[in-house]
């Protein structure tokens, strides 16, 4: 599914709408360059699961967990270079759980991401407009 947006609020709303659909145990992988609006998307996503805390980037601590009507684990795997580093943070226990996981930089450890994860890609195209964004949602739910 492809959605085109031209304002930050729209990206936020798409995040919100995806978050509304999130069920316990779901895994979402969010990709896109710096400054495309991954954080805005995540804020909308978190709002939809009734999380009122301020969402900050987990770049340093790798994962932040929030409690709303479900638990949200927000990952930033930018600093993860090898798959076995995931063992050191107990990654599997977070993602195979009753919580919702939203993972940035999941492309670093693609092999460790379960097949049923939903991949969301946010892209800019400066040729069209500075604020133009294309959001692609890849729902390859293999049971």
């Amino acid at each position: 599914m492809e959605i085109k947006t031209s304002r930050e609020e729209e990206t936020y709303n798409i995040g919100y709408n995806v978050g509304k659909e999130a069920k316990k145990g779901d895994i979402f992988c969010l990709t896109g360059d710096l400054g495309v609006g991954k954080t805005i998307f995540t804020k909308g996503f978190a709002k939809a699961i009734e999380i009122n805390s301020i969402i900050t980037s987990p770049t340093f601590n790798i994962v932040n967990s929030y409690k709303g009507n479900k638990v949200l684990h927000h990952f930033d795997l930018y600093r993860i270079k090898y798959i076995d580093e995931l063992d050191e943070i107990g990654f599997d226990e977070y993602i195979f759980s009753d919580s919702v996981s939203l993972i940035e930089w999941a492309e670093n450890v693609k092999d460790s991401i379960p097949k049923n994860a939903v991949w969301i890609k946010i892209e800019k195209d400066l040729n069209i407009d500075e604020n133009y964004r294309k959001i692609t949602i890849d729902l390859k739910k293999e049971q």
């Binding site: 090898y82 798959i83 063992d87 107990g90 599997d92 226990e93």
Partner: protein, 376 residues
Amino acid sequence: MITLIVDTSLTVATVAVMKNEEVLGEFYINSKNKHSDTLMPLIENILQLLNINPKEIKHLVCGIGPGSFTGTRIAVSTVKAIAYSNNILVTPVTSLEALALNHIKSNKVIIPIIDAKRGNVFTAMFISKNGKLKRIMTNSLMEIGSIIEKAVELDKEIIFVGDCLELHKELLQKEKISLSKKKDNIIFSINMGIYAQNQLKNNTIEARDLNPLYLLKSQAERDLIIKNIEKLKIRKMELNDIEDIYNIEKNAFITPWSKKSFEEELNNKKATYLLISLENETIGFVGFWELEEEAHITNIAVKEEYKGLGVGSYLIEELINRCKDKKIQDITLEVRVKNYSAIKLYKKYGFKVEGVRKKYCRDTGEDAHIMWKRGI
């Protein structure tokens, strides 16, 4: 002497107190992921109800996992703190031993399994002899299929105990395997206390040496995966590879092919044999015959010490790619029905069971699945 026993490695937080060999009390609470909230109140309350001052604790027993990543750390760090501040020794007990203790009266082989996600389990094997637990297999991390295979091979009465029996129920429903009842699938700290006193008298350690038990694929294996992927090479088998291939074949199959069969295959225009090597060491191979638009896999094997590292997956992927290049439509193979890890591998690549070859195995009379991957 007062002993305090603590475990939070699975879904239950459990604490117990003993005075010498006498049991004074035990709490357990199925608090799921709330161990950090429940453990200290449990310890505080049990000591209060027994009218014991924390200073009187002279020995600690601690569950060190494997199990929940966070849970295990909660007991270990709490016990560590108590041990440091009171300057007392700790007896570590693994969750696998603790689970096995629930069946200490059984005369079956006791196999504890703890969910390690992605189809893997932490496991070991024990038997009970004169009321004592005896280990017959080291703590391991392996695929559920592999441990069931090992269990079935023992050809003894077996009981599985653990937190993921329900999850793997389908695979576990086999002859000679019984499954532990729900009430025996949790850890009771009091059993750990008695066990520590009976069997682990000389195993006490200092606080600084107390650590959660990590069970990962061994370092050598991890190094292989991470550093050497680019060194894995796949090429066609040649005459002077036959010795290596035969050695792998011999260890992998109950009725192996002879060296001569492999030599003949080299002259068979329809046959292709691919071998995979790591720095000139042959570590696995796969063979197939091309018959019109079908490929028949004749055999695939991986050297024992390289099993479970994805070498089989590399081979299958390469085989599928080569079949695609040759415009082959369908791939088929036959596999022993009890070869669970191979079946899992084939299923991962889209092979489906379409039939049965009765009495496939000449020695054991075991049947084989006929599997197909259609329209590659």
